[in-house]
Every structure is written in C-alpha cells, then in structure tokens.
Symmetry: C2
C-alpha cells in the first residue's frame, strides 16, 4: 500500500458543513491524527486508528503522522474549520521541512469552512468587504507584532476576525487587543462574538466594541470587529459593498 498524508478541515462543528471530499478521505483513512476534541468528532470503525493528542503537540503530531504515512498508512490529520487557517497545515509543512527523507510522501490539503465564515454567515455578512484575520492565541508570536497588526488593521479599515481571542496561556491578551482597537478609534464598530458556532452551544452576540468585555470570549469564540461602515438591519449585521 502506498502511504499518503491528507490534511483535512472538519468545518466549525456541524456535520452538514463537512465537505464530501473530506468525508471520503476519512472513509478511506487508516489513521486519523488531531487535537482530542476534533478526533472525537470522527466515527470509529474497524481498521481505523485514532491518534488524539494535546493542543500544544502540533509539531510532534505532524511528525508522527508523516512517519506513519512513510510506512504506507493512509493518514489524515484533522483540524477544525480549515486546516490552512491557524491550524495543522503549517505545522505539517514545518515538520516536513525538517525531515528530507519524507519529502516524497504524497500530501494533499483539503480545505474546509473556517470559523470566521461560519460566524459571518450566522451574523449576516460582516466579511462582505475587505477584511483580515489575526490569531491572538499564537504563543509563537510576540505581543508587539499582534499590537502593530491590530493598529494597522484598524487604520486600513478592515473588518477584523480575531481567532482564539482568549487562551488559557494568555488570558490578558484579548483585553489588551480590545484596548488597542478602542484606542485606534474603533469604539463604535459593531463587534460580533460567535461562540461555538454551528454547534448546539452556539451563541451570537453583537454590540459596539466599546461595550465589549473580555470575558465575553473564550477559546471557542470567534470575534469579528466590523469596519467603519458595518451596519445592522434587524438581527442582521453586514458590511456594505461600497467603501466608506
């Protein structure tokens, strides 16, 4: 059997958001690797080995997945959402770069519905105009880089999707991010807190940024800060196509 490594996105939570391409890859897999709660979404079956690991184990997980693929297994590494957005795809390529002996392993990346798209859909269309996505939890990124990006994103009048706003290792980061954005003149901007979007625990809140409190977010929350033209109409929030 020829081994291969597939890096697949499971979407934000609802089974109906998993693409048929990803479902097929999972049906053909011999091994699935991923963070525990994501691996728990995979149906067990005869002949499939599930390898769940901890949140901070991305590089080890990627290396182990490559090793099994090199041995001839059909390995799928799963991420929530899209695997290319703050998820496992970069970790796999980092591991691959460090291991020349594995450079010939067939690899494919299967995209998915990333959290900001699902959150935006629930809220309306807050990403209908130019936007950016910033990962607040990344412990590999120094805080001054995050601060500079937030300021420039505000100045560019992007809608801003904030991934992993509140991590266990950096609980104060999101409060600082809110302060920076207020300081950058974004106090009036409509801000959406999308918690556990498309799951049974989904909760969507929207309010002006200046009224946002850090404890409104946790690791399962995706935050979207609207641009200066973002408006609401009834329960819907959207960015007009026209620039401000």
């Amino acid at each position: 059997m020829t081994g291969m490594l597939t890096i697949a996105g499971l979407g934000p939570g609802d089974e109906a958001l998993i693409t048929p391409e990803v479902s097929l890859a999972l049906a053909e897999a011999t091994d699935v690797f991923g963070y525990g709660p994501y691996v728990a979404r995979i149906k067990t079956r005869e002949g499939l080995v599930l390898h769940a690991s901890d949140n901070r184990q991305e590089l080890q997980r990627a290396t182990e997945a490559l090793r099994l693929a090199a041995e001839g297994r059909r390995v799928v590494v799963v991420s929530s959402g899209d695997p290319g957005v703050f998820a496992m795809a970069s970790a796999v390529f980092e591991a691959l770069e460090a291991a020349p002996q594995w450079h010939d392993i067939p690899i494919r990346v299967l995209p998915g519905v990333t959290a900001m798209l699902a959150a935006a859909a629930r809220a309306g269309a807050p990403l209908g105009h130019d936007f950016c996505a910033i990962n607040l939890s990344d412990n590999l990124k120094p805080w001054p880089v995050i601060e500079r990006r937030l300021r420039l994103a505000a100045e560019a009048d992007f809608a801003i999707a904030l991934y992993n706003p509140r991590s266990a290792s950096r609980p104060e980061g999101f409060e600082r991010a809110l302060d920076i954005l207020k300081d950058a003149g974004c106090g009036d901007r409509i801000t959406i807190f999308a918690h556990a979007v498309t799951t049974s625990e989904e909760r969507i809140e929207a309010l002006p940024l200046r009224e946002a409190r850090p404890e409104m977010a946790d690791m399962r929350t995706l935050v979207i800060v609207g641009n200066s033209s973002t408006r609401s109409i009834g329960r819907w929030i959207y960015a007009p196509r026209r620039a401000s």
Copy 2:
C-alpha cells in the same frame, strides 16, 4: 407555503467541495438566483426555476429574490465560494435594508469554501499565519482606498489574498497593485497565482512578486502574496506559525 431566502456558497468549483447543507438547500429550492456561470452549476429538475443574471446585476437580483421569497417561494441565491466574501450576501442585505416590507422574511446564510482557502490548500499553507483579503475588482471602491489598504497590509506583514485581481472594467488595477506592493518592499515575497482552482482548468504558479506580470491573472484567478516569512519546500509553500 412559507417563503424563505437562503444565500448559499457553492465553493470554488469542484462538486466535492459543496457542503451537504448547501446541497440540501438546493434540493428543496423552488427558485435559484445567481450570476450565469454559477447558476449553470445547478442541476435542473422539475419544479425548480433557474434565474441567471449578469455579473453587474447584484442588487436587482437580490431584490427579485426577496420578492419571490415574500410571495412564498423557497429561494436560494447562489455565489461561488462563500456567499459572505465579496459575494451576494452583502447585496441581499443592502436590498433588504431598502425594503422594510420584507424585513420579516426568513433568511439564512450558508457558508462555503471561499476561493482563497481552496487556493491556499493547493499551494500548501500560505494562510497559516495572519492574513488579509482585498477585493481589487469592486467598482464601488475608489482606488485610493485600495492603495492605502495594500500599503498598510504590506506594513502589517499580512499574507494578502487578492480577489478579482483583473476585471474587464479595471484591467490596469492589478498592475498598479503589484507596483504598490513592490514599492512597499514586497518584491521578494512568494506570490501564488491560482487559476480556476479545483476545476479541470486549474493552474497554480508561484514566483517572487517582482517577477509577477499582470497578465498572469484574470477574473478566475486568486492571487496570494505571502508574508515576509513565507517559504517553499519542494512544491509546497507555507507560512510558518512563528512570526517573522
């Protein structure tokens, strides 16, 4: 029959990237509205009326879709990719805002795999670190706004996804965008041209920004300009998780 309006994303082209949620909505629709080439992707069947319209007709299309939903039809408005990213969702909410009599129509937005995610997956993981998405074709956006956003995005060291790089109405825009990015110090950045991604005409090219030529892009191309740390390993291109 109670009417409703669904705004759905068909993904970038491959049928295997249409979510089951969207497939179900299409199976239950009485009417599908959209730009001609996207409506052409919908299977015809008894009881389904297809309403194809021209590219520049977004607001009229949205208004007509709302009108039929108000009359009790199960209407689906389709976009390529994700409907919330430079697509029909914002146009529908604009039309809704102008028509208070329709504010009670049940509306839902169903997300999809937007072009930059599919393009990134084919290339590797160029959106694995912070990034932004800028629409170059939007004829509702003055050029100085685009120019300012490009400069700030370069300064923030975002990877930059450029949607609709080369439009019929603004053929010179992409050349100017490339010049601005070169001028902003991005000449060395790895730049990916993803043409007709996930279709039979897919073509992926990557090269340093300074070697990119405007004619490499057309309206079916998604361009991703890497950040300053983006690297390649064999045929794969990825943004390390670590900040530069």
